[in-house]
């Protein structure tokens, strides 16, 4: 992979430029520009944190399902199993695994989001 610049740096440079011109835009476009900058920030995080998050998810799902596989296959099998009632909230390790996966994903999609259960002390 080319490193000068790296992909995430290209994305970051566009995001910073959008932030720079935002004040010159009309209210509607200023809002959409903020959304666009947020989208690029998500892309940037996905490039840097995504591979590790996916590898971790693969490990967690494999442990619940009892065999190895790629992300898509394990995810599909888990969905089918939950729908069929094979895996429930009582299944040992399932909720713990899903909680880790959810935390990793929200860290990429929306790191400022404070999920249910966040205490007052850490939310102010």
């Amino acid at each position: 992979m080319i490193t000068h610049p790296r992909t995430e740096e290209l994305v970051e440079s566009v995001r910073l430029w959008i932030d720079e011109i935002r004040p010159t835009l009309d209210p509607r476009n200023a809002f959409l520009a903020r959304v666009a900058a947020n989208a690029l920030a998500t892309v940037q995080r996905e490039i840097t944190e995504g591979p590790a998050a996916e590898a971790e998810a693969v490990g967690l799902m494999a442990a619940v399902l009892g065999h190895a596989g790629d992300y898509e296959a394990l995810n599909a099998e888990l969905c089918d199993g939950i729908r069929a009632g094979t895996y429930t909230v009582e299944t040992p390790g399932l909720l713990a695994a899903l909680t880790i996966m959810a935390r990793r994903q929200i860290a990429i999609d929306q790191p400022s989001y404070k999920p249910e259960g966040t205490t007052a002390a850490s939310s102010s």
């Binding site: 888990l78 429930t88 909230v89 909680t99 994903q105 929200i106 249910e116 259960g117």
Partner: protein, 331 residues
């Protein structure tokens, strides 16, 4: 269906304000894909009137839509208002002669609707501890209003809502284990049936106008009104996606469950168990997750090209982060 709203408001000024009345100012406040809100002022012999126009800007089919017609919305606001609910005052329901299509006019009220401000602006510090109780009280007058005869209101219960959103979820083709688990869990925990009532249907922080001194001014945005379990309106305002960064305050990011429930019971509402509210709250997170998926799809399928839509698709994970905690805690 292009309607010249400004021209329509000019005509309306004469109709509402009397001989010689003019449109002093008009500006669009917000516009979704299908609905526009305008603020306008009429000056006439009877004085100055500050008004709001709700106007539909895209075709609408009441049979298939989830939302109600604007005429129904206006009728519900009038009926609940007459029953003591804190709602806007409907000034006029538009007809053919107005040339504005489907629309109605409300008296403009003063107050704050931005959820984030209610939750964190120091101006609301003093009144904030009262708000959850007031929300409970406000719901009683709405839930106790007999639906005006002749309106087409859909009836929904927990099972129907789960069926509906599971069907939508399956149709998206997305595979999300946490949403799957939430569907299965909620199906096993549907609360026993209660006498259904009129519901606001979108009762959350962001759709309620608050005043820093008095608290609840008016319950707005009635387009999702329907008949169902009164706990549904309570669960939705407790859904974490509408707590604006204060998950530690379950009611709208400003109050506690106990105050909401006590406000409801003390105002004469049939007492509601917390577990029932929590069922609808969890279903609220699940529903919002599925809605986020469909907003992404509306972009993918070319129905709307706004950059906002795919980004809302990435909000599914916020509902998943909430759902895993609720599943762990139980109802």
């Amino acid at each position: 269906m292009e309607v010249d709203v400004r021209a329509g408001l000019q005509k309306l000024a004469a109709r509402l304000g009397g001989q010689g009345a003019t449109l002093a100012e008009a500006g669009r406040l917000s516009g979704g894909a299908s609905m526009e809100t305008w603020a306008f002022t009429i000056e006439g012999p009877a004085g100055t009137e500050r008004l709001i126009l709700r106007h539909r800007s895209a075709p609408f089919d009441e049979e298939t839509a989830r939302s109600v017609s604007l005429a129904t919305e206006a009728a519900l606001i009038r009926a609940t208002g007459a029953n003591g609910a804190r709602v806007p005052i409907v000034r006029h329901v538009c007809d053919e002669a107005d040339g504005l299509g489907e629309a109605y006019v409300m008296v403009r009220a003063d107050g704050e609707t931005l959820g984030k401000k209610i939750v964190s602006d120091p101006r609301f510090d003093a009144v904030r501890p009262q708000l959850a109780r007031q929300c409970g009280e406000s719901l009683v007058a709405i839930h106790k209003t007999p639906p005006p005869p002749g309106l087409k209101l859909k009836a929904v219960d927990g099972v129907a809502e789960l069926d509906r959103y599971e069907e939508v979820y399956r149709a998206t083709g997305a595979r999300r284990p946490i949403l799957e688990l939430a569907f299965q869990y909620l199906r096993k925990h549907v609360p026993p049936r209660v006498e259904p009532t009129l519901l606001h249907g979108d009762f959350r922080n962001g759709n309620i106008m608050f005043d820093p001194g008095k608290g609840v001014v008016a319950v707005l945005d009635w387009e999702l009104a329907h008949i169902g379990d009164p706990a549904e309106d309570m669960g939705w305002i407790c859904t974490n996606s509408w707590r604006f960064g204060r998950p530690d305050r379950p009611v709208g990011g400003f109050g506690d469950y106990a105050d909401l429930l006590a406000g409801y019971a003390d105002a004469g509402g049939r007492p509601i168990e917390l577990s029932r509210v929590r069922f609808w709250q969890m279903l609220g997170s699940l529903r919002w997750g599925v809605m986020c998926l469909t907003m992404y799809l509306s972009w993918r399928d070319g129905i709307t090209k706004s950059v906002e839509r795919p980004m809302i698709g990435r909000r599914v994970s916020e509902t998943e982060a909430d759902l895993v905690v609720l599943l762990e805690e139980g109802l």
